[in-house]
Structures are given as C-alpha cells and as structure tokens.
C-alpha cells in the first residue's frame, strides 16, 4: 500500500499545527518560530516551513500529514507541498470573519495548484461569533452545494475529531478514480 500524503492547509490560526499534533503517532516535526507580524495578536508562534506527522489507519494505510504555513509570504512552501499531496484538508477558523477573504484567496490558490480531492474543515465552531457552515461555504465561493467539497466541523485539539476529518478525506479519495489504495 502506498503511503497517502495529506496536506493540512488554511490561513493563520486556523489550527493546522494543532491538527497535526493532535493525531500524529510520531513526535511532530514542527518548525515553529516566535511570531512578530500580526499573527502575534492571535498566537505566540507560527509555522515557518511545515509540520510533519504520521498516522496509521486501522486498515494499515499510512498517512503522512504535511501542515503548511498560513501566511502568503510562505507561498513557496505551498508550491512545494501541495502539488505533491493525494488530498488535503482546508481549515477555516469560523470565528474570525476578518480572515474569510484570505481563506477564499488561499483556497483559490490551492485549487490552481492541484486538482486533488479536498475537504473543508471548520474550526473554532464553539467560539463566540462563529459562522454557520452554509455561510462559510458562500464566503469561500462554494456556491453550488452539489459540486462543492464536503464540509465538516473539526475540533483540531481533539484526536477523535481530527481522525473523523481525515477518514472523510480518505473516503473522498476512494470515490475518485484514485488507484493508490
């Protein structure tokens, strides 16, 4: 069985590093540095290269998880990571509407780089002011509910929730004419 490479992406503070840390069975290779830009308003550290984690599913299928940086200045890292993944999770912090434009821009960027399956993971859904999934879909430009990728709420701090999200993505991969598994 070939290893499945899964990308975890999204804008700053969406929960990418937390997501990978929650589920990885190895100590995550992370590249956190103290944040000096506007990121510092949200959190103290930020990913500057990538997070790498690994997960083995019950079927024996191995997933390699690659978390990307969130800021646009790291677009070269997206270019390295995203075209090589079999599928990816696009995380959106539902409680920070000021980031939705950046999310939409990032999603369009990723879609230009790769046609592989994706799912939208909604984080911070229990926070005050969190938007509803349907509204998020519209802000991301995913207007047609028949053709858009699956949207799932995910608690990036909870391994069970993260696992469900990844299983949904793997199911998406199986649905396509994907011949790896």
């Amino acid at each position: 069985m070939e290893i499945l490479k899964i990308g975890i992406t999204g804008t700053v503070g969406a929960g990418k590093t937390t997501f990978v840390r929650a589920i990885s069975e190895i100590e995550v290779v992370d590249t956190e540095r103290v944040a000096r830009d506007e990121t510092a308003l949200i959190k103290t550290t930020t990913t500057v290269a990538f997070d790498f984690g690994r997960l083995t599913l019950n079927s024996g299928q191995i997933l390699h998880l690659y978390g990307t940086p969130g800021q646009f200045r790291f677009d070269f890292m997206w270019d390295i990571l995203i075209p090589n993944v079999h599928g990816y999770v696009f995380l959106v912090d539902t409680s920070r509407p000021q980031n939705f434009r950046a999310s939409r821009r990032l999603l369009n960027y990723m879609k230009q780089k790769t046609q592989t399956p994706l799912i939208i993971g909604l984080t911070h859904t229990d926070c005050q002011g969190a938007w509803q999934p349907e509204d998020i879909a519209l802000t991301l430009g995913l207007v047609d509910s028949n053709t858009r990728p699956p949207i799932i709420k995910v608690n990036a701090t909870n391994s069970h929730s993260v696992a469900q999200c990844l299983i949904l993505l793997v199911e998406q991969l199986l649905k396509t004419d994907f011949n790896v598994i």
Binding site: T31, R36, A49
Partner: protein, 122 residues
Amino acid sequence: MIQSSVLQDLLQRFVSSTPDIQGAALVSPDGLPISSILSAEMDEERTAAMSAAILSLGERIGQELARGLVERIFVEGEKGYSILISCGTEAVLLVLAGKAVKQGLLFLETKRLVAEIKPLLD
C-alpha cells in the same frame, strides 16, 4: 527601536567590501524582512520567508539528527553560494556570494558581520 539605517549601512558596507559578495539580508526568524541589500529581481518578502524556512529546517536537523547547535546553512549552487546564519534570537542573516569567492574569507567576513549586528539587536 533599532536604527534601521545603521543596519542598512552595515549590510551595504559588507556587500561593497568584496566584489564576490552579492547580497545580504537580515530577516526575523518568522520570515519578515528587517533590512536587505539585494538585487532588484529578488523579492525581499519572499527572500525573508525562504530564509526563515530553511534555517528552521536546518536547525531541526541539527537537533533531531544529533548534529548539535547549527552554526550555518550553506547552499552551494552552480552560480554561487547562499549562507544562512542565526543572529541571536531576533534575526537570521542571509549572505549571497558568487562562485569565485574565497570560502574562508566569506565565512570570516560573515562571522564579523554577525558580531557587529548582534549587539544592535539585543
């Protein structure tokens, strides 16, 4: 507040000192530009982000593969060298040099520059 003109002058002097040193940039560890002398076709923001990314990975290798504290990252290309060196906790220095540069001189000059910059950032 750091006098950015002082840093800029230091970098300028460093780049002008040897014809084979072609550029230098000082960036924050999270990949933001602080000060730079780069040729026009190099984007300062991207350069800063790339420098931070590769230094972080290099330091990770030093740590996980038991190479100890990383002194510098050295990228040898067909046309020249890129050196990344940590400038304390606040900055990373990138130096670009041509293939003809004498490596010993390059390392020495870079070390000197780091020693000059460090106290300004603390």
